[in-house]
Structure formats: C-alpha cells, structure tokens
Symmetry: C2
Subunit: 230 residues, 2 copies
C-alpha cells in the first residue's frame, strides 16, 4: 500500500479505534477540550439546523453534543470500529460509509448542515467528497469544515502535498500514525469555490494562552441560483 | 488627532512621500522585489482586464507595470505628493481621491479589475471602501486585494484591532510610522462576503528562502444575480 495515500489513512485509523475513543471521551486532547470542540458546536448551531450530517464522525461525540438541540442527526465514518462505538453511545443514526460511497450517492435525504470536524485528511477522497456535498444540502444549507490551521501548523514548505503523520502529544498506545495531505488555506478556499460554494465565513478560534489561532472553520453556502433583488 | 485612526495613517504617509517613492523605485523593499510585486501583477493579469483601477496606488508602480498590457488604467491615492510623483512617471490617469470620496461616488466608469495592493491599512475607511466597490465593477469584474499575511505577521493576540506602526527595516529617513488596523483572515473574508462578493481565490505567495507565505491575495467576484443552469 502506498504509504502516502487515502487508503493508508483509513488503515491507520482502523488500528487506533480504542485508543482514539479513550482519548476523545477522556478529554485528553487539550486543544479540543479548550477550544475546537466548542468552536465547531457553535459554528453548527449558529445556523439553527433541524438536520445535521457529520461526515467522518469518529466515535460520535459531536452528534451526541448536538443531540439535545437538533432533531435529525446522522454520523458517517469509514471505520467500522468507530461507528460501533458511536452506535453504542447513541445520540443519532450512525453508518459505516466511505467518502467514495458518499460521492456515489450513499446519503439519503438532505441536510441543513453538513459538518466535517478534523476529518478531511486525505487527497482524492476529500476532493470527491467536496464535489458531492451540494447534492446533499437543503436549499440554504451550509457546509462547515474545521481543520488544523495550515499556517500555524508550521508545515514547510507551505505548499500542498502529502506529509508524514505523527501521534506526538498522544500516548504510546497509538500506533502507525496516518499520513495526511497538507492543504494551504488557498487550497481550502479553492475547494469551496470550485465546487460552487460561497465562503460565508472563516473563523479562526484562538488559544486562550498563546493567543494564536489553533484551527480554522470554513462555512460555505451554495451559490444562490435564483434571481434576487437588492 | 487620535493616534489610532484612519486620519493618522494619511498624515503619516503625507510625511513620507519622497522616502517611500525612493524605496519603491530603488527596489529597496525585499519582499516586494522578490515576491509580492510579481504576485499582484499576475493576479491582476490572470483576468485579462481591459481596465484596471488601482486604489491606494502610491507613486504608481503598479499602473506603470500594467501599462503595456491594459488599455485603461486609473490610479487613485489620497496623498497629493504621491499622485504628483505618479503623474510625472506616467502610465495611466492619476487622481487625488480618498476612500471616503470613492464611497461618495467619485469614481467615473466601471472597471474589469479593481486592485488594492497593500493599501488597506485603516478601519472605517476600508469598510466604506469595500461597500463601494460593487458599484464600480463591470459585470464579471473582480476585486483583488493584497495584504500582509495576518497569521505570518505574528501579531498577538490574533484579534482585530489597531496596532502601532513601525518602519523597521526601512531607513532612518522614514518618519512617524502609521498606525494600522490589524485584521484577521476571518475579518478579510467577512469583508468580501458581507459586501456581496464570492471569494474566488486566496493566494498566499511564499518566500523562496523561508518557504512561508509572505502575503495573501484575495480575489472576489460579485455574486451572479442571474439564473444559471448547471
């Protein structure tokens, strides 16, 4: 298997299901605890959605977090072990579904918000997924993506491309770090723009101690295809 | 005069006309020589414009640079001394015009590209200017803005607000540095979005030695108000 490939990412996550579930549920990831969990929840709820689709939902924390305020919640993840953990914890409907499945039309119904929280790590799989989102959004719906802040990540050279992964900051129980496809901010903006989205906003939640941004949250809406007047 | 104000920025530039003109024309500003001049020229010419309006044109280098390839070129700047230098060097039409004047309708005609190259330094003046751009763009026209990369600038805390200026890296002949209103990337994106622009792309030219982004170039187009089909 190509060590820098979308397949390798999935394989790596399949080996870290219990470690990851324990880390998320134990609150071991400081940036999530302090900043990014709250930020993505706020970004989603600011649209007062009745339905949310969480793509790359992992063990399902975001669905559970939203469950008191959103009627219809669906979480998708390609890793069966994570979906199993999510189903056991409840809060919404969970299904094993790959990004390629989604691109092939696997999603039923339309959603007010589609969200990807730190779940867009690959190359082709992300590109086909972006192209598929417009078809699963309700009119007026939005696509919310949170990702590591590309500039703050300090990845050099600052150009798109595959990078080696690392579990630095996680425990020794984590194995085989996943490679990831680094995208500049410009690349993310182009993914939205090239797929017919208007970027409504780009939030950069800041760390309360360093005062630097930690992540970036893009919110895109489909371009209005109707005649509007001022 | 409020030391942190749009008025103070203009006053500072009025005191640095000859210093600035010498620095630009002598190629003394490394980031411009190496990276950002070429980047903004490419961003503008990629739209093959017949007409370009350069707002905050300074001593006029960009207009001169574009003059062999663009038919109609107009440069505006609020500082009379800079417009005088620009007129003497030629390449297009130059006029003393403030951003508030532009907001009040001072621009004649419509343009394929409106460009602001490191010229959006203030608060209210920038906000009123953004709101005025849609009315001076041709259908299908674009607004191109180059600015210091807010994340790379290392300004902390990373929140919008006035900051003290500095001429660090410039010679001792520069006086009274201008204050500037720091905007996060999110703030720039909102300026486009809130004024009816779709962000087409966001380029981040990188430094050939540090491999980090130096600046950011936003290109926005007005949202299509017509019915389109896929």
């Amino acid at each position: 298997m190509d060590p820098y490939s979308d397949e390798k990412i999935v394989e790596s996550w399949e080996g870290n299901v219990s470690q990851w579930t324990a880390a998320v549920r134990g609150g071991h990831i400081e940036s999530r605890q302090l900043i990014t969990d709250k930020a993505v929840v706020e970004a989603v709820l600011s649209h007062a959605p009745e339905s949310v689709l969480d793509i790359g939902c992992g063990e399902g924390w975001l669905i559970r977090e939203l469950s008191s305020q959103v009627t219809r919640l669906v979480g998708l993840d390609v890793v069966p072990g994570l979906i199993e953990r999510a189903e056991r914890a409840g809060g919404g409907d969970f299904r094993v579904t790959s990004y390629e499945d989604i691109a092939a039309g696997a999603v039923d119904g339309l959603f007010d918000v589609v969200v990807c929280n730190f779940s867009l790590l690959g190359k082709e799989s992300v590109e086909v997924l972006f192209a598929a989102i417009p078809a699963i959004l309700k009119p007026g719906g939005v696509f919310v993506v949170q990702t590591l802040h590309p500039v703050i990540a300090g990845v050099l050279p600052y150009i798109d491309g595959w990078r080696e992964g690392s579990w630095a900051g996680f425990g020794p129980e984590f194995i085989e770090p996943a490679p990831w496809y680094f995208r500049t901010l410009g690349n993310w903006v182009a993914l939205f723009s090239d797929n017919g989205f208007r970027l409504l906003d780009m939030r950069e939640p800041i760390h309360p101690n360093t005062h630097k941004p930690v992540s970036v949250i893009f919110t895109g809406a489909l371009e209005d295809r109707q005649v509007t007047s001022e």
